[in-house]
Amino acid sequence: MKDIKICCAGFGGQGTLSMGKILAYAGMLEGKEVTWSPSYGPEMRGGTANCHVVISDTPVGSPVVTENASCVIAMNQPSLDKFAEVLADDGALVVNADLATYNGEKEVRLLSVPANTLATKEFGGTRLANIVLLGAVVYATNCVSVDFVDSAFEHVFSGAKSKFVPDNKKAFALGYDFAKSL
């Protein structure tokens, strides 16, 4: 397997970092080599937040994704404008269609997912929009098996937080199925 390099970007509070963490966790549970590295520059409230996840069968060299990304996830327009160029020619661009529109010149494999709308319809709010998009990412890249994403939720949300597991699984399936229907 070639290294799968993923760049998740959005604004602070949208859950971009935790979405990447779930992905890395699932990869680890599947027995793959994984890295998760966040941007940690001087950020401000409402500013951008992004993280890079690399999943591989061999030890990961550079954990930083600045070129040839297998997948770029843009949760809002500024992230899309900034990170679309990082995408490899055969990469998948997963866009939160409620907050961003791809206007680039380059032909890309575009998955436009109205994650806010889907999350609001199902859960009454946008909080799980990141996990809806994660479902689309896993469908598009096949970077981890769905079973391991489900166990990742159980590991990350343990103890008192375990009440969050069912909705996360549901949101993930929502995004996965939506991407499949595109």
Partner: protein, 352 residues
């Protein structure tokens, strides 16, 4: 063995506890603040003590006290904070006190940036305090290696009675990787029969720093250098990466070395016979690696997140400065794989 997905900084904190460290004195600074944050909640659970000192200078002197009392003790900071600790590090070394000091480097000089850097090589490896002294300096290139080195650092510190620096950077501190914890002492450790634990029925112990007599101070220096010589003979540590048939060798450590690994994979696919000598300890510098490989190496490609601070040691180790080409990024910028590939092709110039 159980695997955890942990940030480098938190994993370092956990590794210290697993290795029996009960005392941490430090002060927050990006990008290492998760070390004190983690230990502030975890150390009390194992009967340990966490103190957020009023400054880095205070923290390193609290380390001096705990080390003198025979405790396994840790402090951590990032570049400008480590600069503040230099006086205390020299004092610890002169008093032969074991301690572990973590430096999660950021861009410099001065306050610099908060993004990753590797420009504290000279300060740490050559020594930023006064006098003739050495510290063991370990340079992890992954979260797992940071954990393993932390555990080894405490043993080496106690074994040689010397401060050990674990020198990493903001990227490894902030990133998450799967990691497991398995502490096994790497040395048979002598009892700390010198520690200030109360005289009781025994004899009086003293931890001294000021020497009034010049000859006596000179003798202290010679005693220290006996230890340094033993460390240079026994503790050189490095990784040979794709060196079997290599005619060119990258030299790099930490974060820049793992980026170089990806670049070397690409250069190998293009047909270049290139590998890497990656020092895992920066002091003692792995001279033996160069003795082993130098005869068949045409050029060294030194890559760092500094302006070339390790080049001098590579030159001493290979004995020919003209064999070294350097490429670096600084100020908090992380070099890309493409940059290293381009640098490699420029230096090797089609020599496949």
């Amino acid at each position: 063995m159980a695997k955890y997905l942990m940030k480098g900084n938190e994993a370092i904190g956990k590794a210290a506890i697993e290795a029996g460290c009960k005392y941490f004195f430090g002060y927050p600074i990006t990008p290492q603040s998760e070390v004190p944050e983690y230990l502030s909640s975890e150390l009390p659970k194992v009967g340990g003590v966490f103190v957020q000192a009023e400054s880095e200078v205070a923290a390193i002197n609290m380390v001096y006290g705990a080390a003198a009392a025979g405790a396994r003790v840790l402090t951590s900071s990032s570049s400008p904070g480590i600069a503040l600790k230099q006086e205390g590090i020299g004092y610890l070394t002169n008093a032969s006190l074991p301690a572990v000091i973590v430096n999660m480097m950021r861009g410099g000089p001065g306050l610099g940036t908060i993004q990753p850097g590797q420009a504290d090589y000279n300060m740490t490896v050559k020594g930023g305090s006064n006098g003739d002294y050495r510290n063991i300096v370990m340079a992890p290139a992954s979260v797992q290696e940071a954990v393993d080195m932390m555990m080894e650092a405490f043993d080496l510190a106690d074994y040689y009675r010397i401060p050990v620096m674990v020198m990493s950077d903001g990227l490894i501190g902030q990133m998450m990787e799967p990691v497991s914890f398995d502490y096994k002492p790497c040395k048979e450790l002598p009892p700390k029969d010198w520690a200030l634990t109360g005289m009781g029925e025994g004899k009086k112990h003293m931890v001294e720093n000021l020497v009034m007599d010049a000859d006596e101070c000179e003798a202290w220096n010679h005693d220290h250098f006996k230890v340094y010589n033993a460390i240079e003979a026994a503790e050189q540590d490095w990784e040979d990466f794709m060196m079997e048939d290599a005619e060119y060798a990258f030299t790099s450590y930490g974060t820049s070395a793992r980026i170089a690994k990806t670049a070397i994979g690409i250069l190998r696919e293009k047909g270049y016979k290139v590998g890497m000598i990656r020092p895992k300890k920066l002091w003692p510098f792995p001279i033996k690696a160069f003795e082993l490989h130098d005869a068949k190496i045409k050029k060294y490609l030194d890559v760092e997140m500094s302006m070339g601070q390790m080049v001098g040691d590579v030159a001493l180790a290979c004995g020919d400065a003209s064999k070294i080409e350097f490429y670096g990024r600084v100020g908090g910028n992380i070099p890309t794989v493409d940059e290293f590939v381009a640098f490699g092709e420029k230096v090797m110039g089609g020599d496949k």
